[in-house]
């Protein structure tokens, strides 16, 4: 008989919805309250809940540390790279207006310049915040385990 079965069942039900809500806050932040920072924290909270209920070994199997360690700087690079992209488009750094109607209408399906810029930038924030929160939890919890033995 496994301990805490109610906790496990309930969090198994909840975690997908927490992650989905995180994605909603991420990609709907231009329209409602929210944005990359809040979304990143909510997404990380869902994954950390998994770690708290199912244990650190299961958490580290599901969320590889080497992936997370690449994603943290990747988010900052997405943000900074958006700025480089606007410079290449002939504007100032992070001037999203130049993302509009360039490249010969090839990317006409993309949203307006400011909208696209904000989307990319918030995506970068979300990626970084998620991986930073997971990293901090992972390292503290792993350290606690090691010291006890």
């Amino acid at each position: 008989v496994k301990a805490y079965s109610i906790l496990r069942v309930v969090s198994k039900l909840l975690i997908p919805y927490i992650l989905l809500f995180g994605l909603y806050v991420q990609f709907h932040g231009d329209y409602g309250p929210g944005g990359g920072f809040q979304a990143g924290v909510i997404f990380a909270a869902g994954l950390i809940l998994y770690g708290l209920v199912f244990g650190l070994p299961a958490f580290q199997l599901a969320i590889r540390r080497n992936v997370i360690e690449v994603m943290a700087p990747l988010g900052v690079l997405v943000y900074a790279g958006t700025g480089i992209l606007t410079i290449l488009g002939g504007g100032n750094y992070l001037d999203y207006d130049v993302l509009e109607h360039h490249w010969g209408g090839l990317f006409a399906f993309l949203p307006h310049g400011q909208h696209l810029g904000i989307f990319l930038v918030e995506l970068g924030v979300g990626i970084t915040v998620t991986s930073v929160m997971i990293t901090i939890f992972d390292l503290f919890a792993a350290r606690g385990r090691r010291e006890t033995h």
Partner: protein, 223 residues
Amino acid sequence: MSESLIVVPLLALLACTAVTVARMRDLWAAVMLTGIYSFLGAGWMMVLDAPDVAFTEAAVGAGISTVLMLATLSLTSRTAKAPVHFPWQALVIVTLTGGALIYGTLDMPAYGDPNAPVHQYPQPNYMERAEHDMHGIPNVVTAVLASYRGYDTLGETTVIFTAAVAVTLLMRRPPLEAMSLQDTTSTKFGDMSESHGPADPQGSGGNTTVDSPRVADLGRGAS
């Protein structure tokens, strides 16, 4: 009037929670109460019509930081040491600082005053400007944070990344080769916190000295 029916109890609860946290010796309960404090703060932000701030406060203050504080508690002791004498000095400093802060609020404009400096400077018409500049992005907060003040947010993201770098440098366990030189027991149990290793049956059993349930809860979960 009806708003004060919500605001006054909320602020009173905030004050009660703060005093309780300060008097508490049980750190686990104190961490939980700081989570409650953040949640009340989020509710208050909501009353002030700042859903973005309330959102952040609820997610960060009540959610993540509570978990991170619990993770930190698993590395330290669960109860704070009782003070050897009554902290008169600290009380005097806190009273003086609090008095100065309250004195400072006397000069502040009334809540919601349209002539307050914050509504006059730097840009009184962000709302209208955003309507035109942003091609119909309704959330002005997002527009200000990500576009008008894009450099600031880039800086903040870098700060958060720096936090991860610092924690990684300080807390990441050394590679297995280096550990086996130090002592063999750590290596034996080291496998289970390795990112690529499978769940160690020995580790999940927790057959050695897990001295208190809170450590077991964090590290081992409910397996």
